[in-house]
C-alpha cells in the first residue's frame, strides 16, 4: 500500500505572533511556495520560547529548529526580542559545543512585511537540513534503534 517516500525532515519554526507569523500569513496571501516540511508554532513573542523547548524538539525527533521574531527595535512588546537574542546566541553555541550541527538550530528576524524573506528562509533552511540528513544526535528513537541494532542476538 505504501510507497517508499523520500525522506523529509521535520522542521519546527517558533514564530512570534506579530512579525514572523504575520509574515508567514502574508506569504500565504501572496501564494508564495515553500517546502511542506516546516511547521510553525505560534507564540506571542519570540521571548516566550524557552530554550528547553529546543532540546525537547531534538530529543523527540526534530531535524531542525528555527526561532523567528521581530527585528530588534520593532518588538511588539518593546524589548522581548533582545532577550531572545541573548538566550539563543548562547543556546546555539552550547548546542554546537555538544555536537549539534549549527545549521540545525538557527534564529532569524523576519518582520510582518517580509513574506519573501520568510519564504526564502524556509526554502534555505529546509534545503540545508535536508542535506544534513536526519538528526541522530541525542535523539530518543535513534538511540532505541541503535540499541536494537547493537543487540548481540541480531
Amino acid at each position: 500500500m505504501s510507497v517508499i517516500k523520500e525522506w523529509e525532515p521535520k522542521i519546527l519554526v517558533f514564530t512570534c505572533n506579530w512579525c514572523t507569523y504575520t509574515g508567514a500569513d502574508l506569504a500565504g496571501l501572496n501564494r508564495m511556495k515553500y517546502p511542506e516540511n516546516v511547521r510553525l508554532v505560534r507564540v506571542p513573542c519570540s521571548s516566550r520560547v524557552n530554550p528547553q523547548f529546543i532540546l525537547r524538539a531534538f530529543m523527540k525527533g526534530c531535524d531542525g529548529v528555527l526561532v523567528c521574531g521581530c527585528h530588534p527595535g520593532d518588538c511588539h512588546y518593546v524589548s522581548g526580542n533582545y532577550f531572545t537574542r541573548r538566550r539563543f546566541m548562547l543556546m546555539q553555541r552550547l548546542l554546537e559545543y555538544n555536537g549539534v550541527d549549527p545549521a540545525r538550530f538557527q534564529a532569524r528576524w523576519i518582520s510582518g512585511s517580509e513574506a519573501a524573506k520568510f519564504r526564502d528562509t524556509m526554502i534555505r533552511v529546509s534545503k540545508e537540513i535536508k542535506a544534513l540528513g536526519p538528526n541522530t544526535k541525542f535523539r530518543e528513537d535513534w538511540y532505541v534503534k541503535e540499541a536494537i541494532a547493537n543487540e548481540p542476538s541480531k
Binding site: R42, V43, P44, R48, A57, G73, S79, G80, T84
Partner: protein, 1125 residues
C-alpha cells in the same frame, strides 16, 4: 479525559483544493481525546458556527479545534461564538490550514500530511488548555495630551467637548506648536495664525482643559484606564498667578537673547513671551544657570548682570547691581584678580570680557558725573550693636551688609586710616586712594562708625565691648606680619618685610630703600614691593626660587613690573644675608633647578650644588608670605588659632565662641580682596542668623554653572577685548600715579556688548524692579506634579533636520542667506523679525533671485533620511509663490527630485505656482558657494541633461522633518516603540493608525510620521474619538492570556522582573508554613492590568514557576511533541 471536537473547513475551495479534507478528518478522529470531527464548507459562516454549537451540545465537547485560516483572522470570531456555549472561549485552538498550508504548498499529498500534523498539534495543545476569565479594571476619565501643537490642541478640544477632563502638557512656554510659526497654509493660502490662534484661545478658555506649559512628562506608571503621570513643571521664574502679561519686565530686561521662535533670525529678551499671541500670555525667564563669571566669583557678584546693563547704557543700575554685593566697585575694578574673566566663555573663541575694567568704569563714571550718591538703607533700624575688628575689605564689607539690614555697626581699626590692606598694602599706582576713601565714605554715610587708631588688645577688649552692649564680633584683622626667610643674618639692618615696606610707603612715610634693592618672593606683594621700590628710585631685582611659570603673582603684574624696569632672577634662592657691621651688604644665593611636582602640581626647586653667587644690596625686601599678628588678639582674650596660626573658624566664619566670627586673611591666610569681601558677606549673614535665631543660607543664591561650549559660539562674531590705556612709561617708573587709566564710555559699552549671555538671564534683577505685580520669582525651582489619567495621547510633533552638519556642500550653515523653509516662514510672516518683508539675513536687502531646494535631508539615505517628508513639495510651491508674489521682478528656481502633490487642491496650487513663473528644475544642487555677495548654486537639470549654475541672492532649503527631540526618551517613559527613524509606531499602519501597542496610549500628528496640517487634524480627531470611546466605559475587561505565578515553584529570584517590559512583575511577600511555623518569603507577582502577555518571563524562568496562560509550557511542549510524531 477531555472531549475535543475538530472542525475542518474547506474555505470554499481555498483549503479543499490544496488538502484532502477527507483524509484530514479521518486522521483527526484517531487523535487522543478527539471525540468528534466533521468538515464544513465555510466554518466561519453563520451555518458553520451553528454546526459547531450543535456539535458541542450533542457530543458534550469541552474543547474545540477549528482548522481554517490564520488565527489572526478568525480566532476572535470563534472565541465570540463560544461565549454563547457551555465552553469557555479560551478552550479553542486554530490550525492554520490556509495561509500556512494549502496556499503555500503545491503537492496535495504532502500538504495533507502537513495539515494532519498541524491539526494534531492543535489538538495536543487544546488538550492542555484551561478556562480563562478576564478581569475588570476601572477607568479614570481624564486624558493626558502631550504636546500642544495643532494636533494636541485639536485632540484636547475634541476630548473636552465630549465632556472629559484633559491636561495638555507643552514643553515650550506657549501652546501653538509649529503651526503658529507658519505664515500661510497651502493650498488655500489662509493665514496660519488666524486659524490656529483661535484654537489656542479656545483651549485656554475651555472649562475641561488644563494647560501646563513649560512642562514635560517625567514618568508614567500604570496601564490603560489607570495611568499615573509625573509632570515636571519647569521653573519659569515668574508667578503666573500674578503676571498680567504687561511686558514691563521685557522692556526692563537688558539681555538680547536668541529668538528661538524666529529660529535665530531675531532677538528677544531673557524674560519673554514666546510670541505676542502666546497662550498663556505670561512672561517666562530663560535661565540656564549662573553665568561662569558669577559662578566663579568668590563673592558671586552678578557680573553678567552689570555687564548686560552697561551694554545698554544703564550705568547707575549696573552700579546698583555691584552694590548688592559690595560698595567697592571702584576698588575691585582696579585690583581684583578677576576669576570671572578667567572663566569667561569668550576664552573659548577669543579673549575674555574685561569685566573688572567695566566695573571700574561704572564707579569712575559715577564719580566723574557726581552720581556716586549715597547707598540707601531701606531696612528698619535695629537695636543690636555689632563690633568689627579691622577695617579691611572683609571687615568693611561685613559692616556694609549689616548696615544695609539696619544694624548698628562699629568698626575698630588699629592703623590711623581705614581700609586695611587696601590702604596700606596696595600701592597708589594700582589703586588711587581717593577712590578707596570715597567708597569707605559710602559705608560711613550709612551709619557705620569707623574708629581708627584703636587697637584690639590694647585699646579695647572683647569683655569691655560685650559690657558696652555689643552683641556680636567679627574679627577681620588681616595678615600683617611677614613670614621669615629662615636664613642666617636675616636680622640685619636693611632687611625689611614687604608688608612693612608697603605700609610705610602707603602711609606717606617715604621709605628710602637705597640704590640696590632685592625683593625675595614671587607673589603679588613681591611685585608691589618691587614696583614701589622702583618708583622710589631704586634699581630692583626680584629673586624667585622657581621659574616664571610657577610665579603666583598675576601675569599682568609681572609684565607691568618688567615693562617698568624690574629685573628678575629666576631659580635662585637666598642662602645667607651678608652684613658688615650689622648693616646689610649682600646676599649669597644659590641657583635651583626644578624637581618633581609636589602635591599641588608645582615643581619644587632643587638647589644646584656649587652654584652659589653673591649680589650686592642695600635693602632686601622679603615678600614670601604673611601671617596673622596674634599678640593683640591674645591680649584681648582670644586664643583660637589653627595650625597655620590663622584664626580658627569654619567655612561659615563661626568660631568656637558663639558671638565671635572671623574671616578674611585673618582666617584663611593671605588671599585676595574679593575673597575677603565674600568672607565679610558670609560673616554678615552668619551674624544675622546668630542674632535673629534664623538659619538663612550663608552663601548667596546660586544656580549651577551655565557653561557654553565652543561649538555653540562658532557663529558669534569675533571682537577683540578692549585695550586698557595706561600713563606713559616714564611716569610709571618715577611716580605713584595710577598706571591704568580705565575705559572710556565707548570702550566700556563695546566691551559689555561682547558678552555672549551664557546663562541668558543675567540676574541683574531689573525685571524685579519693573514688575508692579511683584511676579518675579528669582529662586523658583522645578515642581513635580502627579496626576491620574485614563488615556494618553502623544502629539509631540516634529523638528526640522539639523541640515548643517550633513550638507557641507550647501555651506554647512556658514552662509547666513541659506535658510530653511521654516525660517522663510518667519521672514515672510507679518509678525516675524522683518515684519513680513522677505529680506536677506546677511544684509537685510531684498533678494531678487531665490533658489528653493527640495528634499534636503529627505529621500536621501546617504546624508539624511530615506523617507519623503510629504509636506515640502507643497510648502516649497507656497514659498515660490510667496517670493514671486511679494518681491517685484523676482525670479524663483525650484530644484526638485519629484513633485508630489497628492491632496485636495494641491496639484492645482502647484500648477498656479508654475504659472506665476516659478522655474522648476529637475535635479539636485551639488554645491553652493558665496562669491561677490551672491550664492552660486551649481546643480543639474536632469531633464536637459545639463549642468546649471544659478546665481542666487537667497537659498531656501526645504529640509526634512524629523521627530521632535526627546521623543525617544518619551517613548521609553511610556513604553511605546519607535521605528528606526524614531517616529512613533502605530499599532497597525492601516487598521489602527492612531493607537499604539500599549493599550490606552494614542498618537496623533507628526510624531507618528511626516504629514501636513489636514492629516494631522484628522488624526487628532481620530485619537480623540478613540479616547472618548474608551471613556464611555466605566470599567474595562483585561486580556486573560497573561502570565501567572505558581507560588510553590517560585523561589523569588527576580529574573522575570527584569525581563518584563511593562513593569508588571514585582516581588511580593507571601506567608508559608514551615513545619509548625509560618515564615515569609518573596515570590513574583503579576499585575494583571499591566501584563500584556508577551511571555518573556515564562521564557526565562528556570523552574517554570511563571507561566503564560494560553501559551503555557505544558501546551507548547505538547505541541512540540505532537509535531515530532
Amino acid at each position: 479525559m477531555s472531549r475535543i471536537g475538530v472542525f475542518v473547513c474547506h474555505c470554499g475551495s481555498n483549503i479543499a483544493s490544496g488538502v484532502h479534507i477527507d483524509k484530514v478528518v479521518e486522521a483527526a478522529k484517531l487523535f487522543p481525546n478527539v471525540v468528534y470531527c466533521e468538515d464544513n464548507k465555510y466554518t466561519c459562516s453563520e451555518p458553520g458556527q451553528f454546526k459547531i454549537k450543535a456539535a458541542i451540545v450533542e457530543h458534550r465537547l469541552d474543547r474545540v479545534v477549528v482548522c481554517t485560516c490564520s488565527p489572526r483572522m478568525h480566532e476572535s470570531t470563534f472565541r465570540k461564538m463560544l461565549k454563547g456555549t457551555t465552553i469557555n472561549p479560551y478552550m479553542l485552538e486554530v490550525a492554520n490550514l490556509r495561509e500556512q498550508c494549502s496556499w503555500v504548498h503545491t503537492d496535495k499529498d504532502k500538504a495533507t500530511d502537513k495539515a494532519i500534523s498541524l491539526v494534531r498539534m492543535a489538538a495536543a495543545k487544546v488538550n492542555e488548555n484551561t478556562s480563562l476569565f478576564p478581569s475588570k479594571i476601572k477607568v479614570t476619565k481624564r486624558a493626558l495630551v502631550i504636546g500642544g501643537g495643532i494636533a494636541g490642541m485639536q485632540t484636547a478640544l475634541d476630548i473636552a467637548d465630549a465632556g472629559h477632563q484633559v491636561t495638555l502638557v507643552e514643553r515650550e512656554p506657549s501652546i501653538g506648536g509649529k503651526m503658529v510659526m507658519l505664515d500661510k497654509t497651502f493650498p488655500t493660502m489662509d493665514c496660519s495664525a488666524c486659524i490656529s490662534t483661535p484654537k489656542m484661545v479656545e483651549c485656554s478658555s475651555h472649562p475641561n482643559i488644563t494647560i501646563m506649559t513649560s512642562s514635560e512628562v517625567e514618568k508614567v506608571d500604570g496601564y490603560i484606564g489607570n495611568f499615573q503621570a509625573i509632570i515636571r513643571q519647569k521653573a519659569r521664574y515668574v508667578d503666573h498667578s500674578l503676571c498680567k502679561g504687561c511686558s514691563d519686565c521685557m522692556d526692563a530686561c537688558p539681555v538680547q537673547a536668541r529668538n528661538n521662535f524666529d529660529l535665530g533670525l531675531g532677538k528677544r529678551k531673557a524674560v519673554y513671551t514666546l510670541f505676542p499671541q502666546a497662550v498663556p500670555n505670561k512672561a517666562v525667564i530663560e535661565k540656564k544657570g549662573a553665568s561662569p563669571c558669577k559662578f566663579n566669583c568668590p563673592a558671586h557678584l552678578d557680573a553678567h548682570g552689570y555687564m548686560a546693563l552697561t551694554g545698554v547704557g544703564r550705568y547707575e543700575e549696573a552700579l546698583g547691581v555691584v552694590r548688592r554685593t559690595t560698595p567697592f566697585a571702584g576698588v575691585l575694578g582696579r585690583v581684583c584678580f578677576h576669576p570671572c574673566e578667567e572663566n569667561c566663555s569668550r576664552n573659548k573663541i577669543d579673549q575674555p570680557l574685561a569685566i573688572a575694567t567695566v566695573k571700574r568704569f561704572l564707579a569712575d563714571n559715577a564719580r566723574k558725573s557726581g552720581k556716586l550718591g549715597k547707598i540707601a538703607v531701606t531696612a528698619e533700624p535695629k537695636d543690636q550693636k555689632i563690633a568689627i575688628i579691622g577695617s579691611g575689605p572683609a571687615g568693611l564689607n561685613c559692616a556694609y551688609m549689616l548696615a544695609l539690614e539696619g544694624y548698628k555697626v562699629t568698626v575698630f581699626e588699629a592703623l590711623p586710616k581705614p581700609g586695611g590692606m587696601l590702604k596700606v598694602g596696595i600701592p597708589d599706582y594700582r589703586l588711587d586712594k581717593a577712590v578707596l576713601a570715597e567708597e569707605i565714605k559710602l559705608i560711613e554715610d550709612m551709619g557705620v562708625e569707623i574708629k581708627c587708631n584703636t587697637r584690639i588688645g590694647k585699646d579695647i577688649s572683647f569683655k569691655a565691648l560685650r559690657g558696652k552692649g555689643y552683641k556680636a564680633f567679627f574679627i577681620a584683622i588681616g595678615a600683617h606680619t611677614d613670614s621669615k626667610l629662615n636664613v642666617p643674618g636675616e636680622d640685619a639692618l636693611g632687611v625689611v618685610a614687604g608688608v612693612d615696606f608697603l605700609r610705610e610707603s602707603n602711609l606717606g612715610n617715604n621709605p628710602k630703600p637705597g640704590k640696590r634693592v632685592i625683593v625675595v618672593g614671587g607673589g603679588n606683594v613681591a611685585m608691589d614691593a618691587a614696583r614701589t621700590a622702583l618708583r622710589l628710585g631704586s634699581d630692583v631685582t626680584v629673586l624667585y626660587r622657581r621659574s616664571e611659570a610657577e610665579m603666583p603673582a598675576n601675569a599682568l603684574e609681572i609684565d607691568h613690573a618688567r615693562e617698568e624696569g624690574v629685573k628678575f632672577e629666576f631659580l635662585a634662592a637666598p642662602m645667607e644675608i651678608i652684613s658688615e657691621n650689622g648693616k646689610l651688604s649682600g646676599v649669597k644665593s644659590i641657583r635651583n633647578r626644578l624637581g618633581e611636582p609636589d602635591a599641588k602640581g608645582r615643581r619644587s626647586p632643587v638647589p644646584i650644588p656649587g652654584s652659589e653667587f653673591i649680589l650686592g644690596v642695600d635693602t632686601l625686601i622679603k615678600a614670601i608670605g604673611q601671617k596673622v599678628v596674634q599678640e593683640d588678639l591674645t591680649a584681648a582674650g582670644f586664643t583660637l588659632y589653627d595650625r597655620w596660626g590663622n584664626i580658627a573658624a569654619n567655612a561659615e566664619t563661626k568660631t568656637e565662641l558663639a558671638d565671635v566670627f572671623a574671616g578674611g586673611d585673618a582666617q584663611t591666610g593671605p588671599a585676595t580682596v574679593i575673597e575677603a569681601i565674600a568672607a565679610g558677606n558670609k560673616a554678615a549673614k552668619a551674624i544675622m542668623n546668630y542674632l535673629e535665631g534664623t538659619e538663612l543660607p550663608i552663601e548667596p543664591y546660586l544656580m549651577p554653572e551655565a557653561t557654553v561650549e565652543a561649538d555653540e559660539l562658532k557663529n558669534v562674531p569675533r571682537a577683540a577685548r578692549g585695550r586698557m590705556p595706561m600713563i606713559p612709561i616714564q611716569d610709571r617708573r618715577s611716580t605713584f600715579k595710577e598706571a591704568e587709566l580705565g575705559f572710556d564710555e565707548k570702550t566700556a559699552v563695546a566691551e559689555a556688548l561682547r558678552c555672549v549671555n551664557c546663562a541668558v538671564c543675567s540676574e541683574c534683577r531689573a525685571c524685579e524692579t519693573a514688575c508692579q505685580s511683584k511676579a518675579i520669582l528669582r529662586e523658583q525651582e522645578d515642581e513635580l506634579i502627579t496626576q491620574d489619567f485614563g488615556a494618553i495621547v502623544v502629539t509631540t510633533g516634529y523638528e526640522l533636520i539639523d541640515w548643517a552638519p550633513l550638507y557641507g556642500e550647501y555651506g554647512g550653515g556658514r552662509y547666513p542667506d541659506v535658510i530653511t523653509g521654516l525660517q522663510f516662514e518667519r521672514l515672510v510672516n507679518a509678525s516675524g523679525p522683518t515684519e513680513g518683508h522677505i529680506l536677506r539675513p546677511s544684509d537685510q536687502t531684498e533678494p531678487k533671485n531665490v533658489v528653493i531646494i527640495k528634499c534636503v535631508g529627505s529621500r536621501d539615505e546617504n546624508k539624511g533620511k530615506a523617507y519623503c517628508s510629504r509636506a515640502c513639495c507643497m510648502y516649497g510651491a507656497k514659498h515660490a509663490h510667496q517670493v514671486l508674489d511679494k518681491i517685484p521682478d523676482s525670479r524663483c528656481y525650484v530644484f526638485y527630485m519629484d513633485v508630489r502633490t497628492a491632496g485636495k487642491g494641491y496639484e492645482e496650487f502647484y500648477g498656479r505656482t508654475r504659472e506665476d513663473g516659478a522655474m522648476y528644475l529637475r535635479g539636485r544642487v551639488a554645491k553652493i558657494y558665496q562669491e561677490g555677495g551672491k550664492l552660486i548654486c551649481k546643480g543639474e537639470d536632469s531633464l536637459l541633461g545639463k549642468a546649471v549654475t544659478v546665481e542666487a541672492d537667497m537659498v531656501v532649503l526645504e529640509t526634512a522633518m524629523v521627530p521632535s527631540p526627546g521623543v525617544v526618551k518619551l517613548a521609553g517613559i511610556l513604553g511605546i516603540s519607535t521605528d528606526p527613524d524614531k517616529w512613533l509606531n502605530e499599532a497597525h499602519p492601516k487598521l489602527r493608525p492612531v493607537e499604539t501597542n500599549s493599550a490606552g496610549i494614542f498618537l496623533a500628528g507628526t510624531c507618528q510620521g511626516p504629514k501636513d496640517i489636514p492629516d494631522t487634524v484628522a488624526q487628532a480627531g481620530a485619537a480623540a474619538a478613540k479616547v472618548s470611546a474608551l471613556f464611555s466605559n466605566d470599567e474595562l475587561e483585561t486580556n486573560p492570556m497573561i502570565s501567572k505565578v505558581i507560588d510553590e515553584k517560585c523561589s523569588g529570584c527576580g529574573l522575570c522582573v527584569g525581563c518584563c517590559p511593562y513593569t508588571a512583575i514585582s516581588l511580593q511577600e507571601i506567608e508559608e508554613r514551615v513545619g509548625a511555623l509560618r515564615v515569609k518569603r518573596l515570590v513574583a507577582s503579576v499585575n494583571h492590568a499591566l501584563c500584556q502577555g508577551c511571555g518573556a518571563c515564562a521564557g526565562a524562568c528556570r523552574p517554570g514557576a511563571i507561566d503564560l496562560q494560553g501559551f503555557s509550557n505544558r501546551q507548547l511542549l505538547e505541541e512540540v511533541d505532537a509535531l515530532c510524531l
